[in-house]
Symmetry: C2
Subunit: 298 residues, 2 copies
Amino acid sequence: MHFQQLTYFVAVAETRHFTRAAEAVHVSQPSLSQQIRALEAELGADLFSRARGNITLTDAGEALLPLARRILADAETARHEVQELVSLRRGRVRLGATPSLCTGLLPDLLRAFHDRHPGVRLLLEEGGSHDLVRQLARGALDLALVVLPLPAASPALTTVELLREDLVVVSAATEPPPGRDGSIRIADLEGAPLVMFRHGYNLRELTLAACRAEGFEPTFTVEGGEMDAVLGFVRAGLGVAVVPSMVAARAGHDLRRTALAGSGLRRTIALAHRSDVDPPRAARELQRMLLEHRPVPG
Amino acid sequence: MHFQQLTYFVAVAETRHFTRAAEAVHVSQPSLSQQIRALEAELGADLFSRARGNITLTDAGEALLPLARRILADAETARHEVQELVSLRRGRVRLGATPSLCTGLLPDLLRAFHDRHPGVRLLLEEGGSHDLVRQLARGALDLALVVLPLPAASPALTTVELLREDLVVVSAATEPPPGRDGSIRIADLEGAPLVMFRHGYNLRELTLAACRAEGFEPTFTVEGGEMDAVLGFVRAGLGVAVVPSMVAARAGHDLRRTALAGSGLRRTIALAHRSDVDPPRAARELQRMLLEHRPVPG
DNA sequence: TGATCTCCATAGGCAGCACCTATCAGTGAG
DNA sequence: CTCACTGATAGGTGCTGCCTATGGAGATCA
């Protein structure tokens, strides 16, 4: 049984005429006759009674017709469905990102993506880099925005470096500015009241490591919050915090932003996906847009 | 898109393995790979991500899989349905017959047919020969048992003579026997009280024509009934009636049967169907059984 | 690290078949 | 009777699906 044969069969059933059916399906009449014969032979029953000028379906033909129509419709649907995925009129991207990236980088990007491909669903998984890497490996995510270096031994993940972001110190605008001359050194943080993120934040590890490299343990007034909470505590004058510059830029005028002097402190943000399978079409498109619109790199 | 390709696709989706899928569908692995490639090319999207030892469906593959399964299932159903019709495990016979044949010939035949092909529905249309011929021509009947000669100019009907049946006179067992020496002539019916069928019965025309050929008009005590009613009136002693011998034989012991002397009166029963289309398989089978089990012809 | 295995892709050859054009055969109308 | 119409048949051709043989890229293990 071939799709062609079913197409021809339906055409004859609808026109009740071999020659006109052949024209309708753009094939010569002998070819169509032959294929109908072949289908009849395979099924072991005549499908049409070929009365001169009065072609009618036999009972076997009557039984076949609705199924043939449905099969052809399903095939058409299949083509259409796949086409919609390919053309990004439909689809899904499962994107993971660390909390700081969710507030900093993503909103504009996802907005732009959604405007361009409104039919594609965006599923965002907010989590620590460790979790995200595991989810990627399990196939639960298509793409993740992570902070390098990756925590775990990455199981066959490909990472594309996206941008290097300076970390800055934020403090309440109502408090005297920390440091000197509008800039601050890591060493100046010794003894300073710090508002620190919860365990699991990559920023926490990064800041701690920097302080320890300078030979001191930082002092925390409050610790344990998420990004928004930390900024709130800083606004309230509880202390200063080390945050990505992109986050600081969005934090509003009641927060002062002080650059870290010298080599400063940076973090590298990368896009990760499994190496062994290509991400779906929609995820590749998101990746492409991310790389294209990437904020000033370096 | 070919059924083969969908079969291969489903096999790979189920085994997650090209080589094993190829074994499952009894084809060489390169052929299977090639067909999957062809399908992917036609649809314009990869269906599998071919990670070493970890074949998975892409989103396009996921979209296609349920449709592919349904298409294959429908194709299987189509084969099965047609096969059931062919093997007479299912089907339909639309059979027409005159009322006298419905009571005389059909019950045993239909019983035998149903016993042999219990899945075939029997649709019986009881009517006059004229109606039956029209229904046949319209395609509303597959087969009809009619009395020859056919009334209307038969529009391309094929008739197969089935049997010639004597007509006999039935009378109430409680009444004195008509005629002489256990037989009766048509002429003896002159002035005799006759119970006559309604208009449209072929038997009515036959009997009337026979009487007129003898030069008299028969006398009716009651007229207008169907077969059962006529026999009932005869039983009640209202008169005698001319009926087919087959009907008379089944009428019970309270009815006397008297043969018509001389050339007698006969009618020819035939099986009719359209000449331009073959009847459905089930109808042909019924026709075959009818000819095979036909009661003593002639 | 190199040998081996596994597994999918590629290459080349063959055969089947779907398609074509040309023609035949049966039917109905003028 | 002749012609037009319609479906079936015949013969030839090119596409393609199948095969076997082989390549090449991970895994696995000594």
